[in-house]
């Protein structure tokens, strides 16, 4: 990602391992009840140069930001819808 200034975040996994990844954007569900982070580790796949992005839901518990994974199919459909709205927006 060259045009926008990069923003790095830190993710601490379940075992305590810290990784710096590049934050792409945030998502806010239509009902305002859930917030997500979208990030990338810079992984490119295929000849077309498509990039892998990861999406997790986050919550704030006493000032600590915690990541939960999306498991519900309906929620995943909603998240993809949110992503498409932004990613396919006409300029």
């Amino acid at each position: 990602m060259d045009m926008e200034e990069k923003e790095m975040i830190q993710i601490i996994d379940y075992d305590g391992l810290k990784t710096e990844v590049e934050l792409v954007t945030y998502l806010n569900s239509d009902d305002d009840k859930r917030q997500y982070i979208v990030y990338t580790k810079g992984e490119i796949k295929g000849e077309t140069g498509d990039q892998v992005i990861y999406i997790s839901r986050f919550i704030n518990e006493d000032g600590v930001l915690k990541l939960e994974e999306i498991e519900d199919d309906a929620e995943w459909v909603d998240v993809q819808h949110l992503l498409k709205k932004i990613a396919n927006a006409v300029d």
């Binding site: 945030y26 498509d50 000032g63 995943w76 932004i86």
Partner: protein
């Protein structure tokens, strides 16, 4: 954790609050100008004059947008400076500072003093840069002077008991010989951890000297950290590069929306430093609680109100930029009430009519 530390210098704490209130006042003043123009436009019958007023309104609106942006940046930088000050105080007055005074190892003392001197230099540089930004701004002179006075207070930091700390007899906790030698053994690795953080601050200071970009300082200090609470696999998808660009371009707006929902309320960065220092002294939380009880200055009520005010400000800014001035107006009124509740009477009543 910064919020648990009681600062004896009320003047310092009031200066921080006053600056934020003054910056809010500036937004209110600019909003009132727009409101007055709107009223004139509504009542003007001469089409030519009406058109000129609309052009003036458009310019004022652009000024307000720029002012909001500058004020958001200023508030963030002031919070960074405030946090550095409190970390500095925390280290020197309540934690390592006391142990350092008691150690007999001169090398440790020298390293500690050098590290503290670096922090002080960063504080001064950040204060200078904030003052320059205010000087260059379009704020009215009266507001500029008020803010600059408060910045000077914050620059001095909340340290008023340096003399007391230098005299070990004044230290309340009696540290036994055994505890002293144990703490000295633990001190070196902990000092290394503090030095790592201080090196980070030194890098930021160099960055300031190079390009005076306070936004990059803020970003280096605030590496947002998230903790995974499960081992489950993260959902992932492939996107094209043009889609990725659009997602990245949406980040600022999306962040504002998420912030408005309070997603980052009370977020504590530099938590790693705190956790490391927390392991140095035994019974640290008990000491903190004793300090809190002795001073009786928990002030949690006031700090919750301030966090609410900040969240409301973000929401109000978003509503205003999206043209929902009625909703913005309601939130400004709520902010005004909260400010009054925590003792500020200088936030004026505001009237905003529809932007168009």
């Amino acid at each position: 954790m910064n919020s648990e530390y009681m600062y004896k210098d009320e003047k310092y704490n009031n200066a921080v609050k006053d600056i934020k209130a003054a910056l809010l006042d500036i937004i209110v003043i600019e909003n009132n100008k727009l409101a007055a123009l709107e009223e004139q436009i509504t009542t003007e019958v001469n089409e030519e004059k009406k058109q000129k007023l609309k052009e003036q309104q458009k310019k004022e609106s652009e000024v307000l947008d720029k002012t909001l942006e500058n004020i958001n940046t200023l508030i963030k930088n002031i919070e960074v400076l405030d946090s550095i000050n409190k970390e500095f105080t925390d280290i020197t007055e309540n934690r390592l500072g006391k142990v350092i005074e008691q150690t007999e190892d001169e090398d440790i003392k020298i390293a500690f003093e050098k590290a503290m001197a670096n922090i002080e230099e960063s504080q001064q540089q950040l204060s200078t840069d904030i003052k320059e930004d205010i000087e260059k701004s379009d704020f009215i002179q009266e507001e500029k002077e008020k803010i600059e006075e408060d910045i000077n207070t914050i620059s001095e930091g909340p340290l008023i008991n340096k003399e007391e700390i230098k005299n070990p007899d004044d230290v309340e906790e009696k540290i036994t010989e055994e505890e002293k030698s144990k703490e000295q053994v633990e001190l070196v690795p902990e000092l290394e951890s503090v030095n790592r953080q201080l090196d980070l601050i030194k890098e930021q200071e160099d960055s300031i000297k190079d390009n005076k970009d306070l936004n990059s300082l803020e970003k280096t200090v605030e590496l947002l950290t998230f903790k995974k609470i499960t081992k489950k696999v993260t959902k992932a998808i492939l996107v094209r590069q043009d889609q990725l660009q659009k997602l990245a371009a949406s980040r600022k707006k999306q962040k504002a929306l998420v912030e408005a929902k309070g997603a980052f309320a009370g977020y504590k960065y530099m938590e790693d430093v705190q956790t490391t220092i927390d392991n140095v002294l035994e019974n640290e939380q008990e000491v903190e609680q004793q300090l809190m009880n002795q001073t009786g200055l928990t002030n949690e009520y006031s700090m919750d109100k301030e966090r609410q005010i900040e969240d409301l400000m973000v929401k109000a800014n978003i509503y205003y930029s999206e043209g929902e001035t009625d909703k913005a107006q309601e939130l400004y009124e709520q902010i005004s009430r909260l400010n009054s509740e925590i003792g500020k009477e200088n936030v004026k009543e505001k009237v905003i009519t529809n932007k168009n």
